[in-house]
């Protein structure tokens, strides 16, 4: 997974050497240096960007009516020879409908574009909230220690074992109709534990470094130290955690929506999954209905994985030299 580009290895021996001598590289140097070598990060970002572009451009360009029920029409011959409209137009992919239509006449290509946008937006909200809570608690626990730390650790240890999907099912079984934004907030609120653990562990190792001591002697306050000394050093970890949180939120939301508990009035990939499971796209062999959303999810998550792995290499230079 790490450096697979063995072709570039030989001329870079000097570079690796420099790195071990001058440990005081700036973060910028590290990021740019790694991107040059880090095809994983660049490739992952490209995959993710492709999905985001598809969603944003697609939903800006495509007529929203195409994603509505009853847009695609199919004709059928009735017994007496006349032509009527069919109730369930299951159109195969064609020039007009690139990915065919579902059973209810929604243009699949159009719906996937709108649905992807909804799902990404939800994942983004959940990621921001999860990272916000997670980082805050992680900093508080790691930096202040004592009983604050104990509470943070116990809380995150206990909550991390409760399966997120189960918790989400319980909550949403009792809630009225959710919106995409509300679901994002809900997922963010229940999935901060991973971030808290990572940030707390890093703060614990950083807070006793000499430069933090120096700042303390210089009379900087806690908040100032956290913001100017700790946060910049933790940025790659937080970024990696954010990427992971977005991916987790998207998968959670799709799982929840596939059970019929997600937002029902706004397009999302999860709602699409609910429909194609509920209305038997598989027994009907309508691969153009269930295939595209699965592909979009797979591409996006693979991209996220690659970005996480790439960010890990920035955050943890040891990984860069490993096989």
């Amino acid at each position: 997974m790490a450096n697979t580009d063995t072709t570039n290895m030989t001329p870079q021996i000097a570079g690796t050497y420099d790195e071990t001598i001058f440990e005081e590289e700036t973060l910028g140097d590290r990021i740019f240096g790694t991107i040059n070598r880090n095809k994983l990060l660049v490739g992952g970002l490209a995959l993710m960007l492709a999905v985001v572009l598809f969603a944003v451009v697609g939903s800006a360009v495509i007529d929203p009516e195409r994603a509505e029920v009853g847009f695609a029409k199919a004709e059928k011959e009735v017994a007496d020879g006349s032509i009527q409209l069919r109730d369930a137009p299951r159109l195969r992919p064609s020039g007009e409908y690139w990915l065919g239509s579902d059973q209810f006449g929604r243009d699949v290509f159009a719906y996937v574009a709108f649905g992807t946008l909804g799902t990404l937006w939800m994942g983004f909200i959940a990621g921001v909230i999860g990272i916000g809570i997670g980082t805050l608690l992680g900093f508080m626990g790691g930096y202040f220690g004592g009983w604050i730390d104990a509470v943070v650790v116990v809380l995150s240890d206990a909550l991390i074992t409760i399966p997120g999907l189960m918790l989400l099912i319980t909550i949403s079984a009792y809630l009225d109709q959710l919106t995409v934004e509300q679901l994002g907030i809900l997922i963010g609120v229940i999935s901060w534990m991973g971030t808290t653990r990572v940030v707390r562990a890093q703060v614990l190792t950083l807070k006793n470094r000499t430069y933090v001591e120096v700042s303390k002697f210089n009379g900087q306050g806690d908040l100032e130290i956290v913001l100017t000394e700790l946060v910049p050093n933790l940025a790659p970890f937080i970024a990696a955690a954010f990427v992971g949180a977005v991916a987790g939120a998207i998968l959670l939301s799709i799982g929840l929506s596939a059970l019929g508990l997600g937002p029902q009035n706004e397009p999302s990939l999860g709602l699409m999954a609910f429909w194609f499971i509920r209305f038997g796209a598989v027994p009907q062999g309508m691969w153009w209905w269930f295939g595209p959303p699965i592909l979009v999810i797979a591409v996006f998550i693979v991209g996220l994985f690659m970005v996480t792995a790439g960010l890990d290499q920035i955050a943890n230079p040891r990984l860069r030299t490993s096989v």
């Binding site: 206990a158 319980t170 009792y174 062999g285 797979a298 096989v323």
Partner: protein, 335 residues
């Protein structure tokens, strides 16, 4: 020291149950109106005289059990007393069946499916990852790792859906749902067992395929780190056979964190299996939960969730207990 560790872990287990139970108690009560009462009234309206006695009986049972007029703390205390007796009340959808009975009927299928697939995925994935970490051939890494990434990236249920399409529609060789052929009388003979295995192939395959990547990639990472350790170099300098270094030195050490992985993965597999079971109409806990949700059967939902969380918490506790035994390097301090 050891006693302290066991107590701490035990405390964590109790805390998990406490948090989950309290959430289970609190969430329905956060609504201004009681969802169960709403559901009952709804049933009462729907019931055209035939089931009306049943519904009234349910409401009576419900009032008696929850005493909604009691102060909140008393309700809470009664709730825990009932829970400690594993009394989750009676199912609304299957009234007057006990929730506990329903859960117990579904549990063996899920335990069988999730248990077997988790162990298989862990074993296959770990050795696959060990091989990937060992071979320095770039071909293996540049082809297999991306493939593993892709398979892992597709969630269980969506992978299951693709497999369902592949093996029941595109190339119909496997049954598309259920856990056994309803026409075969259940008996402990080879035919029944083969039938059950045949029905389990698709759901199990979906879970195994999508979790192999998790195990494989984790194991590979550990192998790479372990291979850089000094004791491997020493073993190489000593002229030990490659096979011996691989099995006794590298794999053995890299395998340890995978046990923690098992703990982390467990809840994930259980949640994922809910959707897999729904997809394949497998009569386990997941399907039961789905039925409960679609029929607004709140008692059944609560019961299933408490059982699942209890099971996951218990297994985590067991893993925590086993871990220090197999990894002598780790000392647990109370710090």
């Amino acid at each position: 020291m050891t006693v302290d560790y066991v107590l701490r872990r035990l405390g964590m287990f109790v805390l998990i149950i406490f948090v989950a139970g309290t959430l289970n108690f609190a969430i329905p009560r956060l609504r201004p109106t009681n969802p169960v009462e709403e559901r009952m009234n709804q049933l009462l309206q729907q019931a055209g005289g035939v089931h009306i006695a049943n519904v009234e009986q349910m409401i009576e049972r419900y009032e008696e059990r929850f005493g909604l007029k009691n102060p909140l703390w008393l309700q809470y205390a009664n709730y825990w007393i009932a829970l400690s007796r594993l009394d989750f009340g009676q199912s609304i959808a299957y009234f007057p069946a006990d929730v506990t009975k329903e859960v117990r009927r579904a549990m063996p299928w899920t335990l069988g499916l999730v248990g077997v697939t988790t162990v298989m995925a862990a074993v296959i994935g770990s050795f696959f990852g060990a091989w990937l970490g060992w071979t320095r051939t770039p071909i293996a890494i540049s082809f297999v790792v991306p493939l593993l990434l892709i398979v892992t990236a597709v969630p269980f249920y969506l992978l299951g859906l693709l497999m369902l399409w592949m093996f029941t529609v595109f190339w119909p060789i496997l049954p598309g749902g259920g856990a056994h052929d309803p026409l075969i009388a259940p008996a402990l003979d080879l035919r029944t067992v083969l039938d059950i295995v045949k029905h389990a192939i698709l759901p199990a395959g979906a879970i195994i395929l999508s979790s192999i990547g998790f195990w494989g990639l984790g194991m590979r990472g550990m192998m790479v780190t372990t291979m850089g350790d000094d004791f491997i170099k020493l073993a190489e300098f000593k002229g030990l056979k490659e096979r011996r270094i691989f099995v006794r030195y590298a794999v053995r050490n890299a395998l340890l964190p995978q046990v923690t992985g098992l703990a982390i993965n467990l809840g994930f597999v259980v949640s994922g299996s809910v959707l897999v079971e729904v997809l394949f109409a497998y009569p386990g806990i997941g399907n039961l939960l789905y039925t409960a949700i679609t029929s607004n059967d709140y008692f059944l939902i609560q019961g299933v969730l408490m059982y699942v969380i209890f099971a996951v918490g218990l297994m985590l506790f067991v893993v925590d207990m086993i871990y220090p035994l197999i990894d002598p390097r780790i000392r647990y301090r109370s710090a």
